[in-house]
Symmetry: C2
Subunit: 334 residues, 2 copies
């Protein structure tokens, strides 16, 4: 026996913004003669998320993604017929899954939908699913949010941003959100954001001068590009924290994505990047110097000086730094 | 009474790489009739450091920086005549300091040189001064170095890099350094680096494939630009750490500095930037969902769904994401 399902495959590789003509819908025949362990999943709700843009597809690949589905047929006792599941099976109406417990990007290929009681099951791909969890762990773990923080989030009316802002409010923060329409801004005010602005009408510079005159402690970034540049240039507090969750402003620009931005590497590898400016540690200089002096005396820390003689030669000693002229410390002896 | 000192001022604003003609030496008369609290500092050793390139000078400004000096005249009991000091007084041979305890970039304008015993006092602006301390706090505090780390440092034969690599060795790490000449590389091997490469002869990609096939845990960056891009793209371990200390590759390029790089903001504000990828937290999903479900039930976490009807409309729902079409979560209902 067999049933007919549909799937969306890539007809052409994305160039800049995805177009309808990049996609192709295909019918497929799926056997219902299941082997031991197999399940047949029927899609109820499918998610579309910006991250799907960035994967290294080939022409003909099925678009990736998660769905809330129902087990239509089963030869797997862990997932009996009728079970509601989350399945990372791509843009498909029907999927035969040979091994539901195979590892996938958000855990296993198939897993039971958590029990949401009377709430809609679609929340499993929304605020109680991947986007909501991204907000949760991004803000609480990676962002180490604190009650006194001034938090900025962009794409704030989106699936992740709207949860970020609300969790920050639950934690006691002052929350500023940006979105791209007045309707979105209205909704954000309704759900408790302290300040919102429509970035198409007002620059982030201008808005933050008013809403965060003392700077931002925690910037949750879904957008990247110029927005982030402006925030980093002028609006972060000293020792501020930035969580990079997405960079939707550059997903459709191959040049920005490949030549300018390290945001995607920071996300995929979940890197921690920190600046260092020694002036911030002045109080701890004595402790450090005691240790370092000891290392020098023990021969564990060796030094070399590139000494230039004469105050009159300071500029040439300085210029030489940019030409690799010094080994060890460049010093001018008067 | 008065004495004559010399100072270096900026004759022209820097464009690209500093040139000798950008600098001008000037004689100045300095009164030796000191008022209460004042000291006259005579320079012994002056430091030149790449960071001096990046300050917002005006024409006529004295170049900034620290020196090891000796108190030549004093009306301040804390700094009697003959005391060796560190003074943040710029490129000057003689400086009258009205208030030695005024706050400056590395503590106070004048401070006693720590007692190095028989070691040269010039170390106070070297491995036992600002560059050494930058390495210390950058690696230990900002980088949270651990014994099992594979550490990469560039400009490794420089004042900061050479200390970074040696402290990492003291802490038990595997240390890889890059420098711009074979002589520098030889010295780095001598002082205990595990692997070194001359980046002018060998790409960082190629070198790291050999020296860090499993990736880099901690990248201490003094260089920025393409070097950093290549490291971030292909050689960081998951959850790796990057300390940004400098970006010498872009200091002399106004376009790179102002249009491309957020490195300087990360340094000056000592920011922490972290990626988030929710798949890394799969084990903690149940705990998070319990919490979030509770927030939804309490009305603290509200949601909105932008539902598109019909599997056939998935591409348009997806495309709409990049045009701000959704408020809340974009979902497709089959």
């Amino acid at each position: 026996m067999a049933v007919k399902g549909k799937k969306w495959i890539l007809a052409k590789l994305f160039e800049e913004e995805p177009k309808l003509s990049d996609f192709q819908i295909v019918e497929e025949e799926i056997s219902t003669d299941l082997k031991e362990g197999e399940v047949l999943v029927e899609a109820l709700y499918l998610t579309v998320d910006p991250y799907m843009r960035g994967r290294p597809y080939k022409v003909g690949d099925t678009l990736i993604g998660e769905q809330v589905g129902r087990i239509k047929e089963s030869k797997n006792p862990s997932y009996p017929k009728g079970t509601l599941v989350l399945a990372y099976t791509g843009w498909r109406t029907l999927t035969l899954v040979s091994n539901p417990d195979e590892k996938a990007v958000f855990g296993t290929l198939v897993k039971r939908l958590p029990d949401f009681g009377d709430l809609p099951p679609s929340l499993g791909i929304g605020c109680l699913g991947m986007p909501g969890l991204t907000a949760y762990f991004g803000l609480l773990v990676q962002g180490e949010v604190k009650a006194e923080d001034t938090v900025l989030v962009n794409a704030a009316a989106g699936a992740v941003g709207s949860v970020v802002g609300q969790i920050a409010k639950i934690k006691g923060c002052k929350v500023i959100g940006s979105a791209g329409s007045d309707d979105k801004c209205d909704w954000l005010k309704e759900i408790g954001f302290d300040h919102v602005f429509n970035y198409k009408k007002r620059s982030v510079d201008d808005a933050l001068k008013e809403f965060a005159p003392e700077g931002v402690d925690l910037y949750f970034d879904n957008v990247g590009g110029d927005f982030s540049y402006d925030v980093m240039k002028s609006h972060m507090k000293f020792a501020g924290r930035i969580v990079i969750c997405g960079a939707i402003s550059i997903y459709n620009d191959a040049q920005l994505l490949t030549e300018r931005s390290t945001a995607m590497f920071t996300i995929y590898k979940q890197l921690t990047i920190r600046g260092v400016i020694v002036g911030a540690f002045v109080d701890r200089f004595p402790e450090a110097l005691t240790k370092m002096l000891q290392w020098v005396r023990e021969g564990k820390l060796k030094y070399k000086e590139s000494i230039t003689e004469g105050f009159d030669n300071m500029p040439s000693a300085f210029i030489s730094l940019f030409r690799g002229g010094n080994t060890g410390k460049a010093v001018v002896k008067v």
